[in-house]
């Protein structure tokens, strides 16, 4: 299947996106910012729809809108907790804006469909290049802020007392989530972003108690789901996003099921002591 350019591009973009979404997603889950990631993807919907309307590449609209949305979310609510209301307010407005842009755009309805549900098989060579460059910058940034970010995710108050600026790290992290969301939208779309940003990380955090290991497992799960999804979709006439979301969901369910059958040893010990 790799003799086809569109499949090669799909595998290239899918691989990059899975790794990036996995790394960023690990912190999204750890910081309980899943709702923020969800909102950012919807904000991205308005941006992508607006870009299409203006005759631009949707990725430009995505990046612009999610990044400004991320900054807005992190400045509106300075602490992690109780951000839901502010996020919800921005989310609803942006979704409405996206609906307007879509209705104004009289071109192909498929554009809207691909923003909402992803169109990995339509990725061009230049899209792959943009994705690669953006992703490398993102991974480098994550590596730089890794330890302070991890620290502040576990206890904002202690991290702040130790001299970490919670405010600035909140903003930087939200920008990184925004960028990761923008590139992941190409693969799974706005509505299915959780499949790559949240499910693999949530699964990994049940499998590993060490952050570095957890991040690697997250990326592997996202990677496997993307590869297997692409592989199946080459032979079956159904959307890739469906396969990716289903595989990650099955993975998470399997781990939860296994836990119920055989509870974590640590849980048992603590309950006894």
């Amino acid at each position: 299947m790799l003799q086809y350019a569109f499949m090669r591009h799909a595998f290239e973009a899918g691989t990059i996106v899975a790794i990036v979404a996995g790394i960023v997603g690990y912190f999204v889950v750890l910081r309980k910012s899943a709702f923020a990631a969800h909102a950012l993807s919807h904000i991205g919907f308005a941006g992508a729809a607006g870009a299409v309307l203006a005759g631009l590449n949707p990725i430009i609209g995505l990046l612009t809108f999610t990044t400004s949305g991320g900054i807005a979310i992190s400045t509106l609510g300075r602490k992690i907790v109780n951000r839901d209301t502010q996020i919800g307010i921005v989310l609803a407005f942006m979704l409405g804006l996206g609906v307007l842009f879509i209705s104004l755009y009289t071109g192909y309805a498929t554009e809207a469909y691909s923003i909402l549900f992803g169109e990995i098989l339509g990725i061009s060579a230049s899209d792959v290049l943009v994705t690669l460059i953006v992703s490398m910058a993102l991974i480098a940034a994550m590596a730089v802020i890794y330890r302070p970010l991890l620290f502040s995710s576990l206890s904002e108050d202690v991290a702040e007392a130790r001299g970490i600026s919670i405010f600035w790290f909140g903003i930087i992290f939200m920008i990184l989530v925004a960028v990761a969301t923008s590139i992941a939208v190409q693969v799974v779309g706005v509505l299915l972003i959780f499949a790559l940003m949240v499910t693999p990380a949530a699964t990994a955090q049940r499998l590993s108690r060490r952050p570095a290991q957890g991040i690697i497992i997250t990326a592997i799960i996202a990677l496997l789901a993307t590869w297997i999804g692409l592989f199946i979709s080459f032979y079956l006439p159904y959307p890739v996003s469906f396969f990716i979301t289903t595989i990650t969901f099955l993975g998470y369910s399997a781990v939860r099921l296994y836990e119920n059958v055989k509870p974590r040893p640590s849980l048992v010990k603590v309950a006894e002591s």
Binding site: S153, V158, E160
Partner: protein, 277 residues
């Protein structure tokens, strides 16, 4: 005795609100100090000033003879709130080690600070918790882990923000004993915010009492009398003592937590059992 904290005509608060004014006190090296007072009286505000996270409105505060600055390595801090819930699946030791390496940029070498983190957990009798996920720890166990984090850089001053909240009476006593051991054996200073003075009375050197916009300080026997508190706060206050020497303060902001110990204890232990199951 060298001063660790010196406060001079200090007024604290925010741009639109003064929390307390004209505070004058000092804390000497090696003292175990309880910071008491009703909710919202400004106990945490004092900690924020010491940590360099906010600035005085007026007056002066010094710590180790310097103006407080953020990220002071000589301070260990145990916060009241944390971001841990039952879903947090990261090992306790991974958090403790952040106390040493968590402010540095870059990914660092795998396991850096791990040895120190284990030692710090050992020093508070929590080595068994090292490889347990934070999410499964009980309130008391989590307090020990946070204490281990606070102690990892061998600080000279410990700030503990309500570490006894959510502990049942047995664990409360255990934790007070542990803090006392830490303070005495390491010859460090500790400020501990509490709602209930009683478990602390046997080990305290000094009380900082914050209420009604005023700050008073002295030995427990000086502060905890009806006359002292009444003259300080200008309201009718009664300090009651039972046959065991336990204290109840009545009259300072009646909605607050200075009521009888028994009802409180029952509630707490009930809550704890529930949590444990």
């Amino acid at each position: 005795m060298k001063n660790v904290i010196g406060v001079n005509k200090l007024t604290a608060g925010y741009a639109d609100r003064i929390v307390w004014r004209d505070a004058e006190f000092s804390v000497g090296n090696g003292e175990f100090v309880a910071v008491l007072g009703p909710n919202g009286s400004g106990k945490t505000t004092l900690f924020k000033l010491l940590l360099g996270l906010s600035r005085p409105l007026e007056g002066e505060i010094k710590i180790f003879n310097k103006i407080p600055a953020r990220g002071n390595k000589r301070i260990g801090y145990v916060p009241q709130k944390h971001n841990v819930d039952s879903e947090t699946g990261i090992d306790a030791v991974e958090f403790v080690r952040m106390g040493l390496v968590g402010t540095r940029f870059g990914t660092g070498i795998a396991g850096s600070g791990m040895k120190e983190a284990i030692e710090s957990l050992e020093s508070v009798g929590a080595e068994k918790l090292a490889h347990k996920p934070l999410g499964v720890l009980s309130g008391g166990e989590l307090q020990r882990v946070f204490l281990a984090e606070a102690l990892i850089g061998n600080p000279d001053l410990l700030l503990l923000d309500e570490p006894l909240a959510n502990l049942d009476i047995k664990r409360e006593t255990e934790f007070v004993r542990l803090i006392n051991e830490v303070v005495r054996s390491r010859r460090i200073t500790a400020l501990l915010i509490a709602h209930n003075i009683n478990p602390l009375l046997p080990v305290l050197d000094r009380i900082v009492y914050i209420a009604n916009g005023r700050v008073a300080t002295g030995a427990p026997s000086e502060i905890l009398t009806s006359e002292t508190l009444m003259s300080l706060y200008d309201t009718p206050v009664e300090v009651l003592k039972d046959s065991h020497g336990r204290v109840a303060i009545i009259g300072i902001d009646e909605s607050e937590h200075h009521h009888g110990r028994l009802g409180h204890a029952e509630l707490d232990s009930h809550k704890h059992h529930h949590h444990h199951e």
